[in-house]
Symmetry: C2
Subunit: 189 residues, 2 copies
């Protein structure tokens, strides 16, 4: 597999997550992140307004893609089929940076309550976006909420597995497989 | 229904949540909370180490009761039946203060990203506690995780409905009914 070459933005994200893990989120400064990434502070600020935004960057795009995929699923798709379409759409934005980030983010989140809180809120945001998109398709509550929660779980489980694996494939098949596993599990509740 | 008379601890919690809503979490001081509750600052510190703890007080007890109920469900209970037993056990700690807090907490959380983060993390903590208790019963992943997520959703939905209703009953039947609704919804995914 060809070595992936991160650009300045990607290097900044990787450097930040490593520093958060090593010394905590609060103790990490923008100057340190820029130094570790081998760029200037002004390069940091061309990409992110502050270190907090660096963490949540991408979340809005993720929510939007999940919702778009759900909205554009065929009219006769079941709630979970629509969620699968959302996962596929959102997976398209997850490239080598995201894959490399997986285990590092996990370590950073394990090390910091503040990052745990942000991470938890992120999941809630994704679930809200998917629930709204399902309700717009005419899916009744609480089916929409349940399908959205399964979608979030599938995204997380698929992402974790994809990050660990050494395959050439993108995230999409991992996320969809995780959703199918959850669907099967729901028969054994 | 006899008027419920909150003690000092309860008045502190209610005062804090109202102040968080009115002026934000960050801007609210312990002095203001004590004043609004009509107690001294040292009374505040007899009940809580700081304002943050005031918010999360009760969460550990909730997790423990959920896990205990699941652990002590009968050996042949299905995963969701065990979760229902956990919900019933945890509901036993939810009294008039919790009921009165429901709508106020909702307003406070809607007004503050920091409280949204704490609230999201709380849900994750409950799900982790229930997943672990289910795994201890021999429930396989991802069934345990899915059942735990349904339990968290049911607890939240039941709690919201109970807070709005004017019935004499406790939380337990609301939480169990919400879980049954989610079980039914899972057939329509």
């Amino acid at each position: 597999m060809a070595r992936w070459e991160p650009g300045a933005r990607e290097r900044l994200v990787l450097a930040a997550v490593d520093l958060f893990t090593e010394q905590g989120y609060d103790a990490t400064t923008v100057t340190q992140i820029a130094e570790r990434a081998g760029v200037t502070k002004s390069t940091f600020f061309r990409h992110f307004p502050d270190k907090r935004e660096l963490l949540v960057a991408g979340q809005d795009a993720l929510s939007r893609l999940l919702a778009e995929g759900i909205a554009e699923a065929s009219a006769d798709a079941s709630p979970l089929e629509a969620v699968a379409a959302g996962l596929e759409r959102a997976s398209s934005m997850m490239g080598p940076l995201n894959r490399e980030l997986g285990p590092r983010l996990k370590a950073a989140v394990a090390a910091s309550v503040e990052l745990q809180e942000r991470d938890a809120l992120k999941s809630v945001g994704l679930a809200i976006a998917m629930t709204a998109a399902l309700v717009d398709r005419g899916v009744a509550e609480p089916i929409a909420q349940l399908a959205a929660e399964l979608g979030v779980l599938a995204f997380k489980r698929g992402y974790a597995k994809w990050s660990e694996d050494d395959s050439e494939s993108g995230l999409a098949p991992y996320a969809v497989e995780a959703l199918n596993e959850l669907r099967a599990a729901s028969a054994s509740l």
